[in-house]
Symmetry: C2
Subunit: 124 residues, 2 copies
């Protein structure tokens, strides 16, 4: 039985908004020890994603806000998506994580290659 995204995802999602500063996102990454930050608007709607990679490549530029570095077209997974499909999607897009959404597009969790990689050793 293939696990679904909702079985493996982290349910407590830390988010930020486009007006937040790059420095504030850097502090979140430092504190939480993770790399993926979904970006939402004031209605809580998913409008982008920022990873530590986006912040790293902004070094030496004059960029200040998350709106300057976020990726707007976010690739997501559905809660009931089998994780082998999620893994394929991650590889196809060259990304390491996806926000997980329900049928209404509401943010429910986050799922990364770190989470999927854990399944490889737990099965043995």
């Amino acid at each position: 039985v293939v696990p679904l995204a909702k079985d493996i995802m982290t349910k407590k999602v830390v988010i930020a908004t486009p007006r937040d500063s790059i420095a504030s996102a850097a502090r979140i990454f430092a504190e939480k020890n993770f790399d993926h930050l979904p970006i939402v608007d004031q209605n809580g709607k998913l409008v982008g994603i920022v990873t530590s990679w986006d912040i790293a490549v902004a070094v030496g530029t004059k960029k200040r806000r998350l709106s300057d570095v976020l990726t707007p077209k976010v690739i997501t997974a559905r809660e009931d998506e089998p994780i082998d499909e999620v893994a394929r999607k991650l590889e196809r897009h060259g990304i390491s994580g996806v926000p997980v959404v329900d049928a209404e597009g509401q943010l429910k969790g986050i799922l990364t290659t770190d989470d999927i990689s854990m399944l490889v050793w737990r099965r043995r």
Copy 2:
């Protein structure tokens, strides 16, 4: 049959030295679209690791060189290490990748949770 690290790892490893600037590492990450940079001394010996996370959390600080941000005690995998053990090691240390070394400690490749995650969908 469980794959070994050498079967899955990326063999072309991009490296940097402690005296290189953070800005140069940021350019490498931007160009190569990856997150892990093993750091070697002038003899090619592994002396540290820098990830996009290290660069992201250095934002807003006065740090300039990779020596200022690298992690010195590098967790590695051996070429003939089964990848379920590598996956367990990654989870235990809360990291996303390991340089792969041979019996002499020579750098042979790099292996990340992105690589391990791919195995989950390829088996189906």
